[in-house]
Structure formats: structure tokens, C-alpha cells
């Protein structure tokens, strides 16, 4: 919320739901040319960032475009692997898993909210929310029950059979939030969740996210001050590094 909290509340090793330690994500574009041209320089999208987030905490990753917010979010959610450093999610190092294992890890432990909602247009709101439960192999009755319950929790109990095309942007994002909670994950990552919404609608969506997050860890990447203002703590990034440089001796800020 405020600057004081932002630098003082990184959780300890034992209480963190997700922890990134000395994270580096380097992208290399192409190789050296046939005629001795130099290879293009590698880009360090994330450069030595350590971060830890505990349950019940909403952390905002702030920074301008190109500062590495989304890349850090991908690493924490197990969507990508760091070039160096480790991400510990649900007690395990994400690098220990192959793609299938990380998909399962995300399914069970991470809820994802996208900037552009990414609901399947052919399916109803309820079917969209129930998607992760399909992968879990839940029976249909259980899927319907859980999805309806979540849609009611985000204030869309009267829209369960509506397709995304018949919902407003704010409603679609609330459906996406409900979907992110379907498997009761420990961590919710949201990449610019208000990026496609007007400020009033964005406020409602963030309020819904805060209401349903309960004791889950929420990481929100945004350059929207309104979105960052609702976070318990913010981690500013600049050029792939933490701009607050608040790491303590063990490098985690804990």
C-alpha cells in the first residue's frame, strides 16, 4: 500500500508461497553471422531479482514498459524458467519439472489472470470458469457447482450462462478472476488486469480480486497506479532490476 510497507514486509523462507532468488532471464536473439558479424547482444529482461510473497499478500510489480514486470511474473508463475537463479513454488523448484510437470504445477497452484481476459468465446461464463477443472478430471456436476459458486463470488451469479461476447469488459475480467480461482490455487498472478478497462471498471475488478483472494498470494504486474494502490506491497522494477534495492544479506529481502 504505502512505501513504508513496501520495503519492510518481505516474508521469511518458511512463510513464502512463492520465492524467487537471484533471478536472471536472458534472451538471446540470433547467432553470430556467417561472415564474422557479431551476435546481437543478449537482453537481460530480469537481472538478479529476488522476491518472496506470502499467503494473503497482494504484491504489485511496478515499472515502466520493458522493465521486466511480465517476465518476472512468468518466472514466478512457472510459465518460464530463469536463465539463472531459482523459483520455489509450492515448496518445489520450478526448474525440477519439465513442461508437463510445470503445467500441472500451474494447474494446481497458480491462477492466471490476463490483461485481455482470454475467455473462450464459444463457451458460457460457467464453462470458462470450469476449464481448469476439466483438466483436473472433476465430474461435471462438481465443475458446474464450483464454477457457479465462483461466479456468484465475483458478482456474476446472474451471468453464468452468458457467453463472453454478451459480457462487458469488466464482467469478462471478473469471469477470468473466477477461472483463476477454480482449482483453489495458492498463488494468483495477474498481468495488467486493468489494462483493458476504464478506471471505474478497473476499480471494481480489483475490488473483486481482493475480495476473493482470501489467504492466497497475489502478484499483480501493472503500471497502473490505481491497480498498484490496492496492493499491500509494491516491488518497483527498472531495467530488469529491483529499483528499491532492498535485499538483505540472504538476498531475498526476508
Amino acid at each position: 500500500m504505502d512505501g513504508e510497507r513496501a520495503v519492510s514486509t518481505e516474508p521469511s523462507e518458511s512463510t513464502a508461497v512463492v520465492r524467487g532468488r537471484d533471478l536472471v532471464r536472458r534472451y538471446e536473439w540470433g547467432a553470430a553471422g556467417l561472415f564474422g558479424d557479431d551476435a546481437p547482444p543478449a537482453v537481460r529482461a530480469v537481472d538478479g531479482v529476488s522476491i518472496a510473497i506470502r499467503g494473503g499478500e497482494m504484491v504489485g510489480i511496478a515499472g515502466p514498459s520493458g522493465s521486466g514486470k511480465s517476465t518476472l511474473l512468468h518466472l514466478l508463475a512457472g510459465l518460464d524458467l530463469p536463465t539463472a537463479g531459482t523459483v520455489t513454488l509450492a515448496g518445489t523448484d520450478t526448474a525440477d519439472y519439465g513442461e508437463r510437470g510445470r503445467a500441472r504445477l500451474r494447474l494446481e497452484h497458480v491462477g492466471v489472470v490476463f490483461q485481455r481476459f482470454h475467455l473462450l468465446p464459444a463457451l458460457s461464463a460457467r464453462a470458462n470458469v470450469a476449464l481448469p477443472l476439466v483438466e483436473l478430471g472433476e465430474p461435471k456436476s462438481r465443475r458446474r457447482e464450483r464454477a457457479t459458486e465462483l461466479l456468484e463470488a465475483v458478482g456474476l451469479g446472474d451471468r453464468v450462462t452468458h457467453r463472453p461476447g454478451r459480457l462487458s469488459g469488466g464482467e469478462q475480467q471478473r469471469v477470468a478472476i473466477a477461472r483463476s480461482l477454480a482449482t483453489e490455487p495458492d498463488l494468483i498472478v495477474a498481468d495488467e488486469p486493468t489494462g483493458e478497462l476504464d478506471s471505474e471498471t478497473g476499480e471494481r475488478v480489483l475490488s473483486a480480486l481482493g475480495d476473493v483472494a482470501d489467504d492466497r498470494a497475489v502478484v499483480l504486474a501493472s503500471h497502473d497506479e490505481q491497480a498498484l494502490a490496492v496492493c499491500d506491497r509494491r516491488v518497483p522494477l527498472r531495467d530488469g532490476k529491483r529499483a528499491d534495492d532492498e535485499r538483505d544479506a540472504d538476498g531475498t529481502g526476508g
Binding site: 518460464d80 503445467a103 494446481e108 485481455r116 464459444a122 464453462a127 476439466v134 483438466e135
Partner: protein, 407 residues
């Protein structure tokens, strides 16, 4: 992957496909139309091949079963003679006919025989059918009533019984030979064995090329002309019965023969006849090729266009295998929908082909519908779906969840 998850993913895929007809119908409709055209074409072509194959059938409404040689290679009616034959047919037919459940069993020998024109003496080829006559039976559209019942010349295999020399002609035969009732017919193949026309009938059998000149005579008398008497040979045995349980007995009565029900004869002929089989196989192969190219290309484009959704599914935890199942079932669903439309198109095609043939050339139905075509269309559509799914599935496997989060 558990059954429940597989079922749920399949249901999801079907809903996505049906939903696309509402939300973004262009590609999915094009894919469906592509398969429909391919399957429709195949159904029409196969119906024509069935029509061609049916021409070799010595059919009548009273006939319920045909016993034909297992390796029969009968083609169209015009070239159906000279194929693998059954032997000892008089005794076998009598044995089958002795069964209380069988109304009658008639052996039939088909031969193209040169017959001298009654006026000019010119040689004309006539399809001659040799039968053991039954007054109640009908052959090639001609009633056998005018022939003396039985086969007197056979005389228990001695071929020294009284020779009737009776022949029934259809109108096409009478016209081409300038013959009428009472005319004597002679064949250059057996100058001393003439036949006398006892009746000219309006019936007959037609092909796509018009009505065939047909003569029906006693079996043993035809065998004597063509040299088939040695093994008492014939092409097929027609069986009339009201009792379906007789089929088992028929199958046991002759080793290395095939017993075909009347409604399965055309399809059986397609499977054992070179020309119709070649047409049918070409039709199916073309349909599969065209269908697969259509479906693979358009569903591939659909997958590329839908990479954001697939990436989102990957991001929320759907495994690569689940996404592959989703795309594969979607492709198969499109192909099956196309197959159903194609079947309807094909049936309309059959009606159109037959209508055009009748209106322009006065031909009898050229294309024949068989219930088997429904199964064939479904099978080909399924095959198109399965083969066409390979490319979209490979494309979908390259989708990364990072693609959507970055947008």
C-alpha cells in the same frame, strides 16, 4: 488420461466447434464444406460404381439370395460372362430346392453367344441365360413361364434327354435379330443346335447404355452350345425363400462360394468386380486426399488464428496432450459434420445424375444408393478427420503460454 477428462475435453471440443459456427464461422464452414464436397463426390461416384456393378446381377424381385463363386470377378453385364463358375449346379440346385424353407433354387449360366440374324444372317451377340425353368420364376426381367418346366435335356447328367430348343427373347433381342415368336435362331458356335423363339417379352435388363438383347433358354441346352456341360457349370444360383434361417444352409451347401442377400448384392459385386471396385476405391481415395488437404490446411489456419486461446489454456494448466486432444477432436468433429453434409450432397448427386441420365439419354438409373454408403461416408469422414488432425495438432503443440501473457 482418464476417461472422464477425455470425455470432458471431447465435449469441450465439440462445443467449441459448434460455437465457432456462431462466433467466427468462415474457417470452420470452409473446412466443413471442403469435406462435404469430397464426401459428396465420393458418394456419387461410388453410387455410380454400385450401379455398374448391379448390371451384372441377374435380379428379380422374387430372388432373395444369390450363391456365387467366392472368386467371382463379374464386371458389368456386358462382360460378365466367362468368370469363375460353380460346378455340378443341377444337383446342387435340386439339393437346395429340396429344403422345405426354399421356394425354388434356379442355376443360371450367362453367356454372350453369337446368333445369326433371322433375315440378314449377320452375326449379333446376345446375352443368353441358361436356366432350369420354374414357371413362377423370373430372370433378367423375363418370366420363365413360356419355357417347358425343368431342364429335360439334362436327363440326370447324361445330356441325352429331349431337347426343347425353346428360347424367350426380350424386345431388344427380337429387334436386333429381326425375330418374333416362331423364328428359328441359329448360332455359328453350334450350327446343328437351333432354337425356336417361343415368346417375345417386354421385360429385359438395362444398363447405362440401353436395354441389352437377352435370350433365355434351358440350362443344359446352353451348356451343350458353350461347352459348359462337362462340369455342369453355371455362374450363380438364385434362391427364393421367405425364411432367413436358410442362409446358413446355403453357405454350407457349396464350398468356396459366397451367399449374398438381395439388398447386399450390389455392394458385394463392387468388392469383387474390378471396374466398379476401381471406381469406388478411386472415389474414396480422392475424397480422403482432398478432404485431408482441406481440413488440415483450414484447421491449421484456425489453430494459428486461435493461438491466443490455446496459449491461455496452456497458461492455466492444460497439458500439451490435453490441448492436442482438444484440437484433434475439433478437427474430427468438423470432418464428421462435413461427412454428414457430404452424404446429403451425395444423395442429391445420385438423384441429379439419374435425373440427368433419364432426361437427356433416356437411361435407366445409373447411380444406385446402398445403405452401405452411409457407413462409407462416415468412415471416410472419420479418416479425413484423423489424418487431417495431424497438422493442426503439430501446430498446436508449438503454442506457448508466454505468447498470450505477453500480449
Amino acid at each position: 488420461m482418464g476417461f472422464r477428462r477425455l470425455g470432458a475435453l471431447a465435449a469441450l471440443a465439440v462445443r467449441r466447434v459448434l460455437g465457432r459456427f456462431r462466433t467466427s464461422p468462415a474457417r470452420v464452414s470452409m473446412s466443413t464444406v471442403g469435406v462435404a464436397l469430397a464426401v459428396g463426390l465420393m458418394v456419387s461416384v461410388t453410387a455410380i460404381s454400385l450401379g455398374l456393378a448391379s448390371e451384372s446381377v441377374v435380379a428379380s424381385e422374387e430372388t432373395d439370395y444369390w450363391i456365387v463363386p467366392e472368386e467371382s470377378n463379374v464386371q458389368s453385364l456386358a462382360v460378365s460372362t466367362g468368370s469363375v463358375q460353380l460346378g455340378d449346379v443341377h444337383r446342387a440346385s435340386a439339393h437346395i430346392g429340396a429344403d422345405d424353407r426354399v421356394e425354388y433354387a434356379v442355376p443360371v449360366l450367362l453367356e454372350l453367344v453369337p446368333v445369326a440374324d433371322a433375315v440378314t444372317g449377320e452375326r449379333e451377340y446376345v446375352l443368353v441365360a441358361g436356366v432350369v425353368s420354374r414357371p413362377e420364376a423370373e430372370l433378367l426381367g423375363l418370366s420363365l413361364r413360356p419355357l417347358t418346366p425343368g431342364d429335360p435335356h439334362y436327363a440326370n447328367g447324361s445330356y441325352d434327354g429331349p431337347r426343347t430348343g425353346e428360347a424367350i427373347l426380350n424386345e431388344a433381342g427380337a429387334t436386333s435379330l429381326n425375330a418374333s415368336a416362331g423364328t428359328t435362331l441359329e448360332s455359328p458356335r453350334a450350327p446343328n443346335r437351333s432354337f425356336s423363339v417361343v415368346n417375345v417379352s417386354a421385360g429385359g435388363t438395362s444398363t447405362a447404355f440401353g436395354t441389352v438383347p437377352v435370350a433365355v433358354v434351358h440350362l443344359s441346352e446352353l451348356q451343350a452350345v458353350t461347352g459348359s456341360a462337362a462340369g455342369d457349370q453355371a455362374d450363380q444360383i438364385l434362391v427364393s425363400t421367405d425364411d432367413r434361417s436358410v442362409r446358413g444352409s446355403l453357405e454350407r451347401s457349396y464350398p468356396r462360394t459366397t451367399v449374398v442377400r438381395s439388398n447386399g448384392l450390389a455392394a458385394q459385386r463392387v468388392s469383387t468386380s474390378n471396374l466398379p471396385l476401381a471406381i469406388a476405391v478411386s472415389g474414396a481415395a480422392t475424397a480422403v486426399l482432398v478432404g485431408v488437404l482441406f481440413v488440415a490446411t483450414l484447421m491449421g489456419l484456425a489453430v494459428s488464428g486461435d493461438s491466443e486461446s490455446l496459449g491461455a489454456l496452456a497458461a492455466i494448466g492444460l497439458s500439451r496432450r490435453s490441448r492436442s486432444v482438444l484440437v484433434a477432436v475439433e478437427t474430427v468433429t468438423v470432418a464428421v459434420l462435413g461427412g454428414a453434409c457430404g452424404l446429403v450432397l451425395g444423395m442429391l448427386g445420385i438423384v441429379a445424375i439419374n435425373g440427368a441420365g433419364r432426361a437427356t439419354l433416356g437411361l435407366e438409373p445409373v447411380a444406385t444408393f446402398d445403405p452401405l454408403l452411409v457407413g462409407l461416408a462416415a468412415g471416410v469422414a472419420l479418416l479425413i478427420g484423423v489424418l487431417g488432425a495431424v497438422y493442426p495438432v503439430l501446430l498446436s503443440r508449438r503454442t506457448s503460454p508466454l505468447e498470450v501473457l505477453s500480449r
